[in-house]
């Protein structure tokens, strides 16, 4: 039922699903993204690290146009972001996003939260969507909560519902904006486990996080942001075991 994206082509030979060229963004006078160039391959798990205020969240939010950029181009799945709302909506349909604060709709049951977008945005028939939703709840481990309201769930459960809600649109890309930062320590694992499972299915993922173990274990590639620019890029072992840049060393020394 749910698509699996696994293919056997090596990562380096696959095509880019996200291409960012010379992104520049200012908040007032503050230059928050400086000439960011970054491509993401199909099926790649890219983890974005960096100290707070480094622009990593802003970066991930530009990918589905939640933040505007002033310069540069972003191409997602063949569509280049412009001011045209239809382009923006096309891209948003294909990219799911999970937020730090979950952002579930508090006035709807869990099931309705998941079903709303596929029914009204994808225009899929209701019974098909309900099947997908129940299957996803099963996959994130909380099928028994389907008819409760978000306020009745724990933080970890809410975040898993948020992941299920994003997946119900059957997106090609998943964006995670610090998905575990608002959770109690004992709930972080349950969310990370769901994300690891998702990575195994071959989903393209861009993850902003502070979870170093997750980055080391799951990421295909890590980029490190500081002061709005990319300081260093590499595989987890390159970055953690043999950092090149002084600022990377400093950041890792503070965190590990």
């Amino acid at each position: 039922m749910l698509e699996e994206f696994n293919d056997s082509t090596p990562l380096a030979e696959r095509e880019n699903i996200i291409e960012c060229k010379n992104l520049n963004k200012w908040f007032g006078d503050l230059h928050v993204l400086k000439n960011v160039n970054l491509n993401v391959k199909k099926g790649e798990v890219l983890v974005v690290l960096g100290p707070s205020g480094s622009g990593k969240s802003t970066f991930i939010r530009t990918l589905n146009a939640l933040e505007e950029i002033q310069e540069g181009t972003i191409t997602v799945d063949g569509t280049t972001l412009s001011n045209d709302t239809s382009d923006i909506e096309t891209i948003r349909k294909e990219t799911g996003m999970v937020f730090q604060q979950f952002n579930l709709f508090p006035h709807m049951t869990i099931l309705k939260n998941i079903m709303l977008a596929p029914i009204w945005v994808r225009k899929w028939p209701k019974d098909k969507v309900e099947k997908i939703a129940l299957e996803l709840l099963e996959r994130v481990g909380i099928p028994e909560q389907a008819n409760k309201y978000p306020g009745q769930l724990s933080g970890g459960q809410q975040q898993r519902v948020a992941i299920a809600r994003a997946l119900a649109m059957q997106p090609k890309i998943m964006l995670f904006d610090e998905p575990t930062s608002a959770l109690d320590p004992e709930m972080i694992k349950e969310v990370l486990d769901v994300m690891k499972e998702l990575a195994k299915t071959g989903m393209t993922m861009v993850v902003v996080t502070h979870e170093m173990n997750f980055a080391r274990e799951v990421a295909d590639r890590i980029v490190l942001f500081d002061f709005g620019e990319i300081i260093e890029t590499g595989t987890p072992s390159e970055l953690f075991d043999n950092p090149q840049h002084d600022r990377t060393k400093l950041f890792l020394s503070q965190i590990l």
Binding site: E89, R92, P106
Partner: protein, 398 residues
């Protein structure tokens, strides 16, 4: 050998139960210290004399004939007696719908149908009403009860919803006649019938207009935005009476020859436009309380603005402003009495007219108390349902 003995206790203990004893309760709450005892006794005496005075007056001194003689006038004004069946048919339609809805949806709406049943029973049992109205009243009770049990059994949810939507045009058609039935001019509608008509029409129409104004005020399109701001601020800067006068005198001038509304419709338009501005500000308060994350989540899922507004933002915004909105509805209901100033005779105007009749000299008290009681009953019903709806929607909890 030292052994530590652990007392085995169940993990979850029930909170200790407090026994309630009337004497103890009295001692704790009313006579706990000498100063409280003094207050209790003093206030008790005061309450006794106020109640005694009021009740003696209500049951022995007051002459309620002024109300019973003019019962029909107070409730329906000059509405022709031969055509009164139309008003009754409208009321019975409401009873059927309310009965069925009470059976189908339970909860608040059942309470409303119980309320209406009690109202029917009271007005059907009043000593002075005609046989005819007794029959209408008891038909209403029968329909409510039959509807309630029918609603529990029959699968007619959609029919009933459709019925509620059709109720308004049917009522207007029946009351007016539009020359298909004998036409009853709106100027003949008076008394409580007029009060209800004005209130319902201005609530039903000002609500959607208010929501649109509130959304417009937050629009990114400058023309829409500034039009809405201008409208809201302009209307809120003028007293309702001024608007009613303007509607009576100026509207005919603006609209020119072809379009002429009678003065009841003009008052309805004035009240609707006035209240829309206030409701808009209430709704805007609700819209502002929605956290940014809700907008972002909806955008990220690919919703366009109208889907997002309809499914995510408005339901949450309206839910949070139920108390403020119902407050405004109650204000609308009571403000209808201002139409006396432009020559329409609502229930209060009717009471005033009757009290000036030399036959009923010195009996204003009875009349105005009756009017006050009617207003209170309906306003209390509004605020009671709002509280129930808030609870069932979990306002402040979810």
């Amino acid at each position: 050998m030292n052994q530590i003995q652990y007392e085995k206790k169940p993990l979850i203990e029930k909170p200790p139960k407090k026994k309630v004893n009337i004497l103890e309760w009295l001692k704790d709450n009313l006579f706990s210290s000498w100063i409280n005892t003094l207050f209790t006794i003093g206030l008790g005496i005061l309450v006794f004399f106020v109640l005694k005075g009021t009740l003696t007056w209500v049951f022995f001194s007051a002459d309620w004939s002024v109300v019973s003689d003019n019962f029909k006038l107070l409730l329906t004004g000059q509405y022709p007696i031969v055509e009164l069946w139309r008003v009754w048919v409208c009321i019975l339609l409401v009873s059927i719908l309310l009965g069925f809805s009470g059976g189908i949806w339970n909860g608040t709406i059942t309470h409303l149908s119980i309320f209406l049943t009690v109202l029917f029973l009271i007005s059907g049992l009043l000593p002075f009403v005609s046989i005819e109205s007794r029959i209408w009243n008891f038909t209403g009770v029968v329909l409510l009860v039959a509807g309630y049990y029918g609603g529990k059994k029959l699968p007619i949810k959609k029919t009933i919803l459709l019925g509620w939507f059709l109720l308004f045009p049917i009522t207007i058609f029946l009351l007016n006649g539009f020359d298909i039935l004998t036409k009853v001019g709106t100027n003949l509608c008076g008394g409580f019938l007029l009060t209800l008509l004005l209130a319902i029409v201005s609530i039903v129409f000002s609500f959607p207009i208010g929501v649109l104004l509130a959304l417009g005020r937050r629009s990114k399109l400058p023309v829409v935005k500034y039009f809405c701001i201008g409208y809201i601020e302009f209307i809120r800067g003028i007293p309702l009476i001024t608007i009613l006068f303007v509607a009576q005198i100026m509207l005919p001038l603006f609209l020119g020859q072809g379009l002429e509304f009678n003065n009841v419709v003009r008052a309805m338009i004035g009240m609707t436009l006035f209240n829309a501005a206030y409701l808009a500000e209430n709704v805007r308060g609700g819209l502002q309380s929605i956290p940014r994350g809700q907008f972002e989540a909806s955008h990220a899922l690919g919703f366009n603005s109208s889907l997002m507004t309809f499914f995510i933002i408005l339901p949450q915004a309206l839910r949070t402003v139920i108390p403020a909105m119902v407050g405004q509805f109650i204000a609308i209901f009571k403000d209808t009495s201002l139409v006396t100033i432009v020559g329409l005779i609502d229930i209060l105007g009717m009471a005033k007219t009757i009290s000036q009749n030399p036959e009923y000299l010195g009996k204003q008290m009875e009349l105005f108390l009756f009017v006050a009681a009617i207003f209170f009953v309906f306003c209390y019903m509004l605020s009671y349902s709002s509280r129930r709806i808030e609870n069932s929607l979990g306002v402040g909890k979810r």
